[in-house]
């Protein structure tokens, strides 16, 4: 026999879910990406479109890295770029050695974009990840 207390808890959970599902704005997402031995982990991330996503980038390496996210044309520009530090744009983030940084982005359309560190040799070494926007 189910106790009254258990039934009350189930009702509360169902009610909360119903309220959350009725017209509330999407909850902001938080994604933590670790940088270790010059690789991103995870290297494949899935987020919904139309929702602000906060990326927390934790650099465990004693060397500087960067996290640049965009389409193929965006990365092609940065492969030949000369900016040593990125600070102004949310899709271009510098992550100093043994530190962390964060940025918040909203992706309007579903699709795939990539995030890459464009410091010399880092992309070839494997500092590449894919973001699936659903």
């Amino acid at each position: 026999m189910v106790s009254h207390r258990v039934l009350a808890a189930i009702a509360l959970l169902l009610g909360t879910a119903a309220v959350a599902g009725c017209g509330a704005s999407p909850t902001p997402q938080r994604v933590e990406i670790l940088i270790h031995y010059s690789h991103f982990s995870p290297a494949e991330v899935t987020v919904p479109h139309g929702v602000p996503v906060t990326f927390v980038l934790v650099n465990e390496d004693p060397i500087d890295h960067e996290w640049l996210i965009g389409d193929a044309a965006f990365h092609e520009r940065h492969r030949t770029g000369t900016e040593p530090v990125h600070a102004e744009r949310p899709d271009e983030v510098s992550v100093r050695a043994l530190s962390s940084a964060q940025t918040t982005l909203t992706f309007d359309e579903p699709g795939d974009v990539t995030f890459i560190c464009h410091f010399p040799g880092h992309e070839a070494y494997g500092m590449v990840g894919v973001l699936h926007v659903t």
Partner: protein
């Protein structure tokens, strides 16, 4: 008393990049570019003390250029090296090359600075720290480490958290009148029980397909045990045993007459190992047993360093495993034998 003499000598690597200089054993310029040509290093072991001699060559240009060398233990002395030790070893094993080239002459928490020495235009710093700490120190001091540096520094720091950082002041070298190609020999005295020659560091910053080239000379009391074992020709590990003979008295006398080399013994065995492999293959160091025994897997970088090896590789573990597998089999065989004996009809009187 155990007497060790081994002269591990090795490698001359020239790290050239767009301007300034070079060094031995692996590193980096302000733009992260490195072109490693060849390294020369000489390490000798006597009564548990390693004498490590290497040469940092000036390649012109301006500004500073750095190099990191992993060490098996803490040096008690860092001084200017002798003038001809590396070249004399080269003559002994490959005189024709010496004639052909002056190349041989080219010869988290914070890292703890153990020793700082200025030799000519070189600023030498001995550091103690983990990979992250030493990497952070190098980054703070202007080194642009390549992307494989974090893993490689940990590879060494897990065995011996001691590194030599050398910064070549190209402006000071020019002011001293050093010409491009002039080397500055450095001699380190390192008490240690675990001699090894760093090889993996030579691949630092290289792509997998790029080649690592180095010469490693060893001088020991006896024919040494080496791991990995070099073949008579370059094998999959990129190592070749190019010379293995009792050192001549003339060679030992010549070496002993160089500055700081009076420790050279009266008798020794000379070995030369030539390294020529892809950076993807050179993922180990050269471990040495100067008495001819089997060197440690950990010293070669094949196992995590520590007093307790992985349990599955110890002989005792193998014996226990064999016993654990054999015991039930024996019990089953014994039980089956007993059952057969009980169920078999008596032959007589059937």
């Amino acid at each position: 008393m155990r007497r060790l003499i081994s002269l591990a000598a090795a490698t001359i690597a020239l790290l050239v990049f767009a301007g300034p200089t070079l060094a031995c054993a692996g590193l980096i310029g302000p733009n992260g570019a490195v072109n490693l040509l060849r390294t020369t290093t000489f390490a000798g072991y006597h009564d548990g003390v390693e004498h490590y001699v290497t040469s940092f060559a000036f390649a012109g240009g301006e500004g500073e250029f750095g190099s990191l060398v992993p060490l098996p233990d803490v040096p008690t002395k860092v001084e200017r090296g002798g003038d001809w030790t590396l070249q004399r070893l080269n003559i002994e094993t490959e005189p024709q090359l010496f004639l052909a080239a002056d190349a041989a002459r080219l010869g988290a928490a914070e890292a703890q600075v153990l020793l700082e020495v200025r030799i000519d235009a070189l600023d030498i710093t001995i550091l103690r720290g983990g990979g992250a700490e030493v990497g952070a120190w190098a980054t703070e001091h202007g080194f642009r480490l390549p992307p494989d540096a974090p893993e490689v520094l940990d590879f060494y720091a897990n065995r011996s958290p001691i590194f030599l950082a050398a910064v070549f002041d190209a402006d000071a070298a020019a002011a001293r009148g050093q010409a491009v190609g002039d080397g500055t020999p450095v001699h380190l005295t390192i008490p240690t029980d675990d001699p090894w020659v760093p090889l993996r560091i030579l691949a630092l910053g290289k792509t997998e397909a790029q080649t690592v080239e180095a010469d490693v000379y060893l001088l020991t009391d006896h024919r040494p045990g080496l791991l990995p074992a070099p073949g008579s020709a370059f094998g999959p590990n990129g190592l070749e045993l190019a010379h293995s003979q009792k050192a001549t008295g003339l060679l030992l006398d010549d070496l002993r007459s160089d500055a700081g080399m009076e420790w050279i013994p009266d008798s020794a065995w000379l070995t030369k190992v030539r390294v020529n492999g892809s950076a993807a293959d050179i993922t180990f160091d050269l471990a040495i047993d100067p008495d001819g025994g089997t060197p440690s897997l950990a010293d070669a970088g094949f196992l995590p360093y520590g007093p307790t090896p992985a349990p599955w590789v110890t002989p005792r573990a193998w014996a226990l495993l064999a016993f654990a597998v054999a015991l039930p089999l024996l019990a089953a065989w014994f039980a089956a034998s007993m059952l057969r004996g009980r169920e078999s009809p008596p032959l007589a009187g059937a």
